[in-house]
C-alpha cells in the first residue's frame, strides 16, 4: 500500500487531465464521450473498463489526440495541449494497441528505434537505448534486434510493442487492450512481467480493457465507464469489488466479485507454513525426524538442485520396501511468489492436504502455503478495504 492511500492530503499530482471533454462524431446524434473529467495521477496504472461501445477506447485516444475532442481541454504535465502540434505530443506518450502494429518491413531494432529517430537522437544513443529496451523485456538484443516482426510469436511481438512504446522514455503510456489478442496462458505471464516492469519504471499508465479480471489485476485505480464514457465509479479495485457504487457497477462486476479479490494479492503476501525440507541422500531416520518436527505431519523431499520432488508423511516412510526417493506423492503443482491468490487456491484444491509448494524463479524450494493462511489474508483485506 502506498503512502498516498493513507494520507489523502498528499495526493500525487495529476499528470494527465481531461477537463469537460466531449466528443461527438460528425453525423452522430449522441456524443460518444459526454462531459468527461478525469485525472490520471503520476505513477499509477489507471484502468478504464466498461462494456463494449462505452467509449473507453475513444477516451484513451482523446489523450494523445488520435481523436480530436469536440469541446473541453486536455492537460498534459500541467500544460494545455488541446491545440498544440499532435505529433509532438504523441512522441512524448507511449502508445500500445491490441494489434501492436509493428512495422513488418523494419527489423525489431529499427521498430524500437522509431520514436528516438523521430526525436532525432543520434545513432549511437538510439542503438544503446534499443538494446536496453530489448533486455528490459527479456529478449536478447543480439538475437532479436536484427530479426523481422514476422519471425516473432504473439507474446514476443507484444513485448517488442511495449519496448517500442517505452523507447524514448515517455512519462506516460497509453495501452488499448494490449493483451487482448494473446492466448490466456501467455497473457497471464505478460501481465505479470508488465507489473514487475512497472514496479521498476513507475510510469503513468492509462490502460483500457473490457475484462474486469484484467482491470482488477492491473489497476492501481479502476474507472468503470458506462455508455458515453460516463464514469460509474472510480476507485481502488478492492473498494470497487467490496463496495460497488450502484447496480450498473455491480452487474458489470458480475457474480463472484469477492472471488476476484483473490487476484489482488500475491503468494508472496502469504505466510509460509513451516514444512521442513528433506535433503537428498537423507536417511529414513532423518526423514522421519523431519516429519515428526513438522506441525502438519508432512515434509518435502528435495533433489540435488533444491527442487521439491515429493510429499512424504509418516505412513509413506514406514513402508520400508520402497526407497525413500519413491515414498509419498510427487509434487505436481508449484507456485511462485508472483502468482495470485487465485492461482494459489486452485493449486491447493488439487492437493489433498490443502497445501501447495512455493518455489523461486529457478524452481528452488521456498516453503508451503496453506488454505488457512489464504483465508486469514482474505479476511484482513476485506477489513482493510471497508
Amino acid at each position: 500500500m502506498n503512502a498516498h492511500d493513507l494520507d489523502p492530503l498528499h495526493e500525487p499530482r495529476a499528470l494527465i487531465e481531461l477537463v469537460n471533454v466531449e466528443k461527438t462524431y460528425p453525423g452522430a446524434e449522441q456524443p460518444a464521450v459526454r462531459d468527461l473529467s478525469l485525472a490520471v495521477r503520476e505513477g499509477e496504472i489507471l484502468v478504464l473498463v466498461g462494456p463494449s461501445g462505452c467509449g473507453k477506447s475513444t477516451t484513451l485516444r482523446l489523450i494523445n489526440r488520435m481523436i480530436e475532442p469536440t469541446s473541453g481541454s486536455i492537460i498534459f504535465e500541467g500544460a494545455d495541449v488541446t491545440n498544440t502540434d499532435p505529433n509532438k505530443l504523441r512522441r512524448q506518450i507511449g502508445y500500445v494497441i491490441q494489434q501492436i502494429g509493428l512495422f513488418p518491413h523494419r527489423t525489431i531494432a529499427e521498430n524500437i528505434g522509431t520514436v528516438p529517430r523521430l526525436l532525432k537522437w543520434d545513432k549511437k544513443k538510439t542503438a544503446a537505448r534499443v538494446n536496453e529496451m530489448l533486455e528490459l523485456v527479456g529478449m536478447d538484443p543480439s538475437i532479436y534486434g536484427p530479426r523481422y516482426p514476422r519471425e516473432l510469436s504473439g507474446g514476443q511481438a507484444q513485448r517488442v510493442g511495449v519496448a517500442r512504446a517505452l523507447a524514448a522514455d515517455p512519462d506516460v503510456l497509453l495501452m488499448d487492450e494490449p493483451f487482448g489478442a494473446i492466448d490466456p496462458i501467455t497473457r497471464d505471464r505478460l501481465q505479470n512481467e508488465f507489473l514487475r516492469l512497472q514496479a521498476e519504471l513507475k510510469k503513468t499508465i492509462v490502460f483500457v480493457t473490457h475484462d474486469i479480471d484484467e482491470a482488477v489485476k492491473m489497476g492501481d485505480r479502476i474507472a468503470i465507464l458506462r455508455e458515453q464514457s460516463i464514469i460509474a465509479q472510480i476507485d481502488r479495485p478492492e473498494v470497487i469489488l467490496t463496495d460497488p457504487a450502484d447496480d450498473f457497477v455491480e452487474n458489470f462486476l458480475g457474480s463472484g466479485a469477492i472471488l476476484k479479490t483473490l487476484t489482488l494479492n500475491r503468494v508472496r503476501d502469504l505466510d509460509l507454513a513451516p514444512v521442513p525440507p528433506v535433503l537428498p541422500g537423507a536417511s529414513r531416520t532423518q526423514a522421519l525426524a523431519a516429519v515428526e518436527e513438522s506441525s502438519s505431519g508432512v515434509a518435502i523431499l528435495l533433489d540435488a538442485q533444491e527442487h521439491p520432488v515429493r510429499w512424504v508423511d509418516r505412513r509413506s516412510l514406514d513402508n520400508a520396501a520402497k526407497p525413500i526417493e519413491q515414498a509419498g506423492r510427487s509434487v505436481n503443482v508449484m507456485l511462485q511468489p508472483e502468482d495470485t491468490l487465485q492461482d494459489a487456491l486452485s493449486a491447493m484444491l488439487q492437493t489433498s492436504t490443502g497445501m501447495s509448494v512455493v518455489v523461486d524463479g529457478r524452481g528452488r524450494y521456498l516453503g508451503c502455503v496453506t488454505i488457512e493462511s489464504l483465508a486469514s489474508l482474505l479476511v484482513q483485506t476485506q477489513n482493510g478495504a471497508a
Partner: protein, 219 residues
C-alpha cells in the same frame, strides 16, 4: 536450308538494324514505364483515402485499355504528328491501369493497425506515407510496373504503323512481302526479339524487386 539456319543468316546480315530497332523498343519500354509509374503512383497516392476520385481514375484508366490499339496509336497523329510521340502517348495510356490498380490495391492492403501505431508514435502524414505505406505497398506496386513493362513490349510493335520504329518494323516488312524470300525470317526476328526483350526486362525487374523490398515483407 532449314528454317533456323536461314534465320541466323538473315540476322547476321542485319545486326545494325536489329540493334537499332531493339534500342527503339527498349526506349519505349523505359520511357513509357517510368512516365506511367510516376503518374499512376501519384494518382493512386492522392486518391487512396477518397473513394470517388479513386474509382473514377481507375475507371478512366480501364477505358484506355479497351480502346483498340490501332485506333489509339493513330488518334493522336493530328496533334503530335507521326513517329515517336503518338506511339509514346498510346503506350503510356495503356500502361497506366496495371500500375494504378496495383498502387491502390497495395496501399489498401497495408494493415490499418500499422498506420494507427505509426500515427500514435507521432509520425507525420508524409512520414507515414514514405516510410510505412509506400514501402509496404511497394512489392504490389512493382508487380504492376512489371505488367505494364511487358504490355509495352508487346503493344509497341504497333508503333511501326505510325512510323514510330521498333521491332515492329521487322514484322510489318515481313508481312508486306509474304511469301517472298526472307519475309518469314523478318517476322520471326520481330517476334523472337520481342520475346527475349520481355524475358530480359522481366528478370531484371525481379532483381530490382528483391533489391528494393525489405527482407521482412519479401515472400
Amino acid at each position: 536450308m532449314s528454317g533456323i539456319e536461314s534465320w541466323f543468316e538473315y540476322l547476321s546480315k542485319r545486326w545494325d538494324l536489329v540493334a537499332s530497332t531493339l534500342l527503339e523498343t527498349l526506349g519505349y519500354v523505359v520511357s513509357v514505364t517510368v512516365a506511367a509509374a510516376i503518374v499512376a503512383i501519384t494518382v493512386g497516392v492522392l486518391t487512396r483515402n477518397r473513394a470517388f476520385p479513386r474509382e473514377l481514375s481507375l475507371a478512366i484508366a480501364s477505358v484506355f485499355l479497351t480502346i483498340p490499339s490501332l485506333a489509339l496509336f493513330t488518334i493522336f497523329i493530328p496533334v503530335v504528328g507521326l513517329g515517336f510521340w503518338p506511339s509514346f502517348i498510346a503506350l503510356f495510356l495503356y500502361a497506366l491501369l496495371p500500375i494504378l490498380r496495383n498502387t491502390v490495391t497495395g496501399l489498401q492492403g497495408v494493415d490499418s493497425s500499422i498506420v494507427e501505431s505509426a500515427k500514435g508514435m507521432g509520425m507525420t502524414r508524409l512520414q507515414i506515407l514514405f516510410k510505412v505505406e509506400l514501402p509496404l505497398a511497394w512489392p504490389v506496386i512493382l508487380a504492376g510496373i512489371r505488367v505494364s513493362a511487358m504490355l509495352t513490349v508487346g503493344i509497341s510493335a504497333i508503333a511501326t504503323l505510325v512510323a514510330g520504329g521498333g521491332l515492329g518494323d521487322f514484322i510489318k516488312s515481313g508481312l508486306a512481302r509474304l511469301p517472298l524470300p526472307n519475309s518469314l525470317e523478318a517476322i520471326w526476328t520481330g517476334v523472337i526479339l520481342s520475346l527475349l526483350l520481355a524475358l530480359a526486362i522481366d528478370s531484371s525487374m525481379r532483381g530490382l524487386g528483391r533489391l528494393t523490398t525489405s527482407a521482412g515483407v519479401r515472400s
